[in-house]
Symmetry: C2
Subunit: 418 residues, 2 copies
């Protein structure tokens, strides 16, 4: 069987399964997730031994230790996957809920009903836990899911796929509702991306290269996020101690993630006062500053920032700092260099807080708190499947609700149109 | 200047204008729309004379009288466009409104704020009124819009574009917020469809050929609707007089539109009773029936339907009729031949009404009323810019709200993540 035939068969089976999943009651979906959670733990040894095949091959092929680390399934990974499934089982099911109800002058009762999207394709890199995490959320939202992880994780992903399929089958659900593509060839991805009649949405998870490849080749809608170049802006009315504390948290609490702050913009009126405090606190947190000309005049021993620094997603203990004449200067900088991810203002001024929130174009705009809060869990969505920085359908963290859509429903008593 | 340079300049100017439009207060947008409405009427003669150039060329080129009819701007068209703009000015502005507010355990206050999508490209055929109708809705929602109508309507569209630009300028808004592409070459469309860094959404309006071309060539998300193969299902528990009245309305009230019914499915238990009544009423309304084998046995003088009839969007006074064993048979037929547009059930049974509404996959599912209600105005959205039959972002009629999205906003008091 050619790869193309194989992918089309998988997608067609997913499409058929999605029709069944859409009408399944919550309890059946939750039961499937709970069975999968149990199976992960009872089959832990088998899963780890399949994973060791991938890890051994990765070592042979000279993959970096960071990549091998991401690839490795430990007992802790298994517990985390199982807990994640149980958590998703406990979340409310949005499917079938009504909103925006109205009654028309002719008596027709209108509402929007939440429904699954249909078939979702997830394309990701070497972390095998994505297989379970993404499947759990997609299935809970009533979708079918096609999973395509990195080829270096194929044994691991197939072992996890067996657990998922068993959970579905034991709960009386079609096992084609969650399928791992059992093909290493990269061509499989490109073929999947052309099945717009069978697949409703593609979510790529991974580095910018993967995402650009998916966007360039997909004829299916893609929900994506390229990078997080997140800013803080310290207004001249800010509480400076709060500004230091938030800045250190935004930069250093977990520097390797997309909602970490990369550039701090400082109002010139308080730069004299604020920058030495910031410098001390950042140095203590192990953060190196790279500053604009004004910063370099005010602080000793900091590197000058170039235009490249303003655009950089360091994902590291480095912070670019720029003095700006006012909030408009900060907003102009953000419009030029931001990535529509997360933007924070520290201020005590009512009008500026309002204007910043309304006018800055980012998936989360936040006042007097850390950029690190742009996360599905922190914003109250429960679990998340990624963060969208493009605007159509979802902008920001995507939870269960973002894996659904709404249709219109109407109840009549014989109404006709005149 | 090459066409490519020209299109990129237009798109870049639209992008810049969209940043301004996003923050404009409602009053200024409404003022612009009201000025445009006035200008349409004061410049009516000039607009009609530009339109006559297009009409004369269309005649010379031997375009069909239906096409020339769609192309022609009359006094009535002008009044309708002006009234449309005034109506949109009166609609609520969704931009900046908050929803889904919650307070997190750490005190962070979260909400979603509605914001414009950014730059919207509208690609349409020969009706010049789309220029004004689409621009009005996109601008009211705070977007910039790029309009690309049929090349046979270029003089008309440029005259209307002047009115729109003047209205924007007189209200103190950037005239680049609404631009008509002044190029006849079809290459202009293909270039526009590749500007994914500058354009956020493409909405094609027109025949299936246009839409398939746009989908195949766009690297920008597309909201589309191919066709409306809408069904009615008459349950054995239906009020048969109501079923006849709704069926005649759904088929014959305006047969040439996408929400007209194309196939009627009839429960076999009541077919004997119902079909002769239906046949009489449809004949009186000028509708020809094409029936399944069972229909042809029960009714005299009707044509047999083939598999092609079940898939047909007649847009004409023709109705395909099929007897089905039960509601599952009807739902199976709809799943196989429907186009995710509008599906109606006529029933008095509680469980079947519920199941049909929940399980049928269409942008509107309606009980005991005509399919003709799938329309933005009828469903209470105010004006509409089209009907989406794909699920991402919008499913069903798209009003102002569907031309916006939401971002997350959060108000804190110094919260950091631990």
């Amino acid at each position: 069987m050619s790869i193309e035939t194989q992918i089309i068969e998988i997608a067609a089976a997913a499409k058929a399964a999605s029709g069944i999943m859409a009408a399944v009651p919550r309890k059946q979906k939750d039961t499937a997730l709970m069975i999968m959670a149990d199976l992960l733990e009872t089959r832990a040894e088998q899963i780890k031994s399949e994973n060791q095949k991938d890890v051994a091959a990765a070592r042979e092929n000279g993959l970096s230790s960071a990549m091998i680390d991401r690839l490795t399934i430990t007992d802790k990974t298994i517990v985390a996957m199982a807990e994640g499934l149980k958590f998703v089982a406990g979340l409310d099911d949005p499917v079938g809920t009504l909103s925006d109800s109205s009654i028309r002058p002719n008596g027709l009762e209108i509402a929007r009903m939440r429904i699954p999207l249909g078939v979702i394709g997830i394309i990701y890199e070497s972390r095998p836990n994505v297989t379970v995490d993404a499947a759990g959320l997609c299935l809970k939202a009533g979708n079918a899911v096609i999973l395509r992880g990195g080829s270096e994780a194929l044994y691991s992903n197939l072992a996890l796929a067996q657990v998922i399929a068993q959970g579905l089958a034991d709960a009386g659900l079609p096992d084609a509702a969650a399928q791992v593509i059992p093909v290493r060839d990269r061509e499989a991805v490109n073929i999947l991306l052309k099945q717009e009649a069978l697949v409703d949405l593609i979510i790529p998870r991974g580095g910018e290269g993967l995402i650009r490849h998916v966007v360039a080749h997909s004829s299916i809608p893609v929900l994506k996020h390229y990078k997080g170049v997140c800013h803080g802006y310290v207004d001249d009315t800010a509480d400076l101690d709060m500004a230091v504390e938030i800045s250190v948290n935004a930069k250093a609490q977990r520097p390797g993630v997309c909602n970490a702050m990369e550039t701090l913009l400082v109002h010139e009126k308080i730069a004299d006062d604020f920058l030495p405090k910031l410098h001390r606190a950042m140095t203590q947190a192990g953060v190196t500053l790279k500053g604009c000309e004004a910063c370099c005049r005010m602080l000793e021993n900091i590197q000058p920032a170039t235009d490249e620094d303003w655009a950089a997603e360091y994902l590291d203990l480095i912070l670019a700092v720029r003095v700006v004449p006012d909030m408009d200067g900060a907003m102009g900088h953000i419009a030029a260099y931001g990535s529509n991810h997360t933007e924070a203002i520290i201020t005590t001024d009512y009008d500026r807080a309002r204007r910043f929130v309304r006018e800055v174009d980012a998936s989360l705009v936040i006042v007097n708190a850390s950029t690190r809060f742009n996360d599905g869990g922190e914003l109250g969505l429960g679990a998340e499947i990624g963060i969208s920085t493009s605007k159509l359908h979802a902008y920001g963290p995507m939870g269960i609700r973002e894996l659904t859509t709404t249709k219109f429903v109407a109840w009549g008593a014989g109404q006709i149109r005149t």
